[in-house]
């Protein structure tokens, strides 16, 4: 074992560990969701929302990049490592120049997504893509198999499953197979050509201090390194490594003469001019952006609420990178990834799936796992004062009003008694609503037994409202003697 092998091995083990770790965190096997906050894009969003800790995380990422190059891409990013696994046996790549135009374009996509709409991050953020990979493919597959098997095997229990739009899975699978099939020709295709984090880090690793370079005297021009490099950044003909694009996978350490090694250097190519010319164009794009994304309201159907703590639909769309951590961790599985519920620019973001399930009044898991602050971490007391939607009762469909028999299922489950029962026609109890108390949890809609349509439903708010807490005096009934 020489130094080169040990370093590659360490990198591989680290990468694999993070790959598994994040996978297990996404599906909820390991309860370490705060770890999601050290990923680059969640940290950036936390920085935007002025979370102190994220300042150090982002700063740390940048320092690491400036000193050692793209450590993040090397093993911290699980999606990058996943591609490494896909191309593990491919050894016939070749050098390819990636223009700075693309990089600057992606860097602007990065900035726009952070401040205006996270729509593109749904497809371009490596962290959330990895989350979607687990929550849209692996976990549902596991749950379906488990729930199928539980009919045959007595010791397997039925597990709750969140609803998924088949179109959504189709779109995602199409995109996923697109990325990975291109990987066979262009190495880590996503990292090289699509990833905005990669673009930002490329800018920061322009002047990296410790960098890989080729020793002219040792190199025997065997082309092994160029063929193996999945970042396509080794130009052996010109004896040049574009280290700003190096993903530090260390496959070039396989060099038979060890001509490639870390060396400190301060020489770089200058591309400042290009950078500023491009900037002008993108400022125009920025101004035009508001017109481009103005199609939120095309849906005429009832509006499903966004999860409590997300403040408003706008806040959600500006901060959610759709990693689906909340969907996977939701105990009642009321959250599902949206397809068109929020409009096209809200694709993949969590939406309350009424009437399939309902939000548990005493639960605040989604906010506590959210790594970007799109769903704020709120206490249960704070949550009880948030109204995400408002109850609507349709008396013509209600069993009590229509069939003249007692029912009251809605009021039974209402945690705030925003739905309460009043005497009706002398002998019956019929539901009435007091919307100020309603938090919009959807329990009433979930249980309403009326057929063919539910008689009670929750209409979501675009901007969350305040719910009033019902104040009643302490019940002091005492039993002095048996009343019989």
């Amino acid at each position: 074992m020489n130094r080169y092998k040990i370093l590659s091995l360490i990198r591989f083990i680290l990468g694999f560990t993070f790959l598994c770790l994040y996978g297990l965190i996404f599906v909820g096997v390991i309860q370490l969701t705060p770890l999601a906050k050290i990923q680059f894009i969640p940290a950036i969003f936390n920085l935007k929302n002025a979370v102190l800790l994220s300042f150090f995380i982002v700063f740390g990422h940048l320092i690491l990049t400036v000193v050692f190059g793209r450590i993040y891409c090397s093993f911290l990013c699980p999606f990058g490592f996943l591609q490494d696994l896909i191309v593990l046996w491919r050894r016939n790549f070749s050098y390819r120049k990636v223009s700075w135009f693309l990089t600057i374009f992606l860097a602007f996509v990065f900035v726009i997504s952070i401040f205006y709409s996270t729509f593109l991050f749904g497809f371009l953020d490596p962290y959330s893509l990895y989350g979607k990979f687990w929550s849209l493919i692996i976990k549902p597959a596991f749950l379906i198999v488990n729930n199928g098997l539980h009919f045959l095997l007595p010791f397997i229990q039925n597990l709750r499953i969140y609803e998924l739009s088949l179109w959504l899975i189709f779109v995602f699978l199409l995109y996923f197979s697109f990325i990975f099939s291109f990987s066979f020709f262009l190495g880590r295709f996503f990292c090289n050509f699509l990833c905005p984090v990669s673009a930002v880090l490329r800018v920061f690793s322009l002047k990296t201090i410790v960098r890989l370079s080729i020793d002219n005297t040792k190199c025997i021009r065997c082309m092994k390194c160029e063929k193996e490099c999945p970042a396509l950044c080794i130009d052996l003909k010109n004896q040049y490594i574009d280290f700003s694009r190096c993903l530090l996978c260390l496959r070039c350490f396989n060099c038979p003469t060890h001509a490639i090694d870390f060396r400190t250097s301060l020489k770089t190519k200058n591309s400042k001019k290009e950078f500023f010319n491009l900037s002008k164009g993108f400022i125009l794009f920025l101004l035009a952006r508001n017109k481009l994304f103005a199609f939120n309201d095309y849906r005429k159907l009832r509006r499903l609420p966004s999860p409590p703590g997300s403040i408003s639909l706008e806040h959600l769309k500006k901060n959610c990178v759709s990693c689906l951590l909340c969907v996977s961790h939701c105990p009642s599985k009321v959250l599902k990834p949206s397809f068109d519920e929020y409009g096209i620019d809200g694709i993949f973001m969590p939406v309350m799936n009424y009437p399939k399930s309902f939000c548990i009044y005493e639960c605040n898991v989604c906010g506590s796992v959210c790594p970007t602050g799109a769903i704020k971490p709120i206490s249960i007391e704070e949550k009880s004062k948030i109204q995400i939607g408002r109850v609507k009762l349709v008396k013509e469909k209600c069993i009590v009003y229509r069939d003249k028999v007692d029912c009251g299922a809605c009021s039974e489950v209402c945690p705030t008694k925003a739905v309460f029962m009043v005497e009706y026609e002398g002998r019956l109890f019929a539901p009435e609503t007091e919307t100020n108390y309603c938090v919009g949890c959807g329990a009433c809609e979930n249980v309403c037994p009326a057929l063919p349509e539910k008689a009670i439903y929750v209409e979501g708010h675009k901007i969350h409202n305040k719910a009033i807490i019902r104040k009643e005096k302490k019940s002091t009934e005492k039993l002095e003697d048996f009343p019989f």
């Binding site: 709750r160 028999v405 007692d406 009021s411 008694k417 249980v447 009643e472 019940s475 048996f482």
Partner: protein, 306 residues
């Protein structure tokens, strides 16, 4: 501590222990007196659940009257909501555990605990702390979240609920001990024992669609519980059956035991301040189904205040 004090203290402890023995003997004497003629209903108050249960069950002839050796017992608490026991929406876990313990002592082979909750079953089992209580005494908590556990059965002499999907543990148990908690209810006014049986079927909302009172009464004759233990330690006197906050809970420290499910419900309804006759399912179960007697003045009742 010097020697003299040591002796003095030891003597005190001994005295205490001896008086304990005395008390125990006294109890035996006491229960012998009533064993001759079991009561129809026992109501007890002002005690902790374990003490109240042990005291009350002696007046019904002891737990051995209900639980035979090597029988399978199903304890059916109300675990409808994923709330802590302090909120008064679910049966006291201490009581459930204690009954399970007494069943084992009476020679039960297995003790099952089951409820098909309104909210998510696994969360209800955990939050109500009945999961923990069952584990402590070695009772089996039966899951209910899948149709594979449920069998379709016909309900005899039914008006509304002619058939239902019923959990297999309910069908197979030799002894059924119904342990409801006393609560007000938004549409049926009170939920006690008969309504608690709703938690063994798969589709509770069929009942809601097809005259709730009639369905509860229809199902009550399908399987009559051997014993009904109404937990009225914490009582939701308003906003039932879920309750809005701790403010809705009154601590009444009461318990009602009866082999007659209708009588137990009638007594519970009285505690909540209702006339049992006003509650639809109690009236139908008693007068049309002849399941039991709700007129408490006709019954032989033992009232105990500790």
């Amino acid at each position: 501590m010097n020697r003299r004090e040591f002796f003095r203290r030891s003597f005190k402890y001994l005295l205490g222990a001896a008086s304990g023995f005395l008390l125990k003997d006294f109890n035996i004497l006491f229960s012998k007196e009533v064993e001759d003629k079991p009561f129809d209903l026992v109501a007890i108050r002002n005690g902790e659940v374990e003490i109240m249960f042990d005291e009350a069950i002696t007046y019904l002839g002891g737990i051995n009257r209900f639980v035979r050796k090597d029988s399978n017992v199903l304890i059916k608490p109300n675990i409808g909501f994923a709330l802590p026991p302090e909120r008064g929406a679910t049966t006291n876990p201490a009581l459930v555990a204690h009954i399970a313990k007494r069943c084992f002592e009476a020679g039960a082979k297995k003790v099952y605990i089951f409820d098909n909750s309104v909210e998510f079953g696994d969360l209800c089992y955990r939050n109500s702390r009945i999961e923990e209580a069952a584990k402590r005494v070695g009772a089996t908590l039966v899951p209910g979240g899948s149709t594979k556990y449920f069998q379709n059965v016909k309900i005899p002499k039914a008006k509304s609920l002619k058939e239902a999907m019923v959990h297999e543990v309910f069908l197979e148990a030799d002894v059924l001990i119904n342990v409801p908690i006393l609560k007000t209810h938004s549409s049926t006014r009170a939920t006690i024992g008969l309504k608690n049986n709703m938690g063994v079927v798969w589709d509770r909302y069929f009942w809601h669609r097809n005259d709730l009172h009639q369905c509860i009464a229809d199902f009550s004759v399908f399987r009559k519980p051997e014993l009904t233990v109404v937990d009225a330690y914490r009582v939701l006197t308003r906003n039932g059956p879920r309750g809005v906050s701790m403010e809705d809970v009154s601590v009444m420290k009461t318990m009602i035991l009866s082999p007659d499910p209708v009588a137990a419900d009638a007594a519970g309804a009285r505690i909540l301040g209702f006339n049992p006759e006003e509650i639809g399912y109690i009236r139908i179960a008693s007068r049309e189904k002849q399941l039991g007697e709700y007129d408490l003045s006709k019954l032989n009742i033992k009232r105990i205040a500790l």
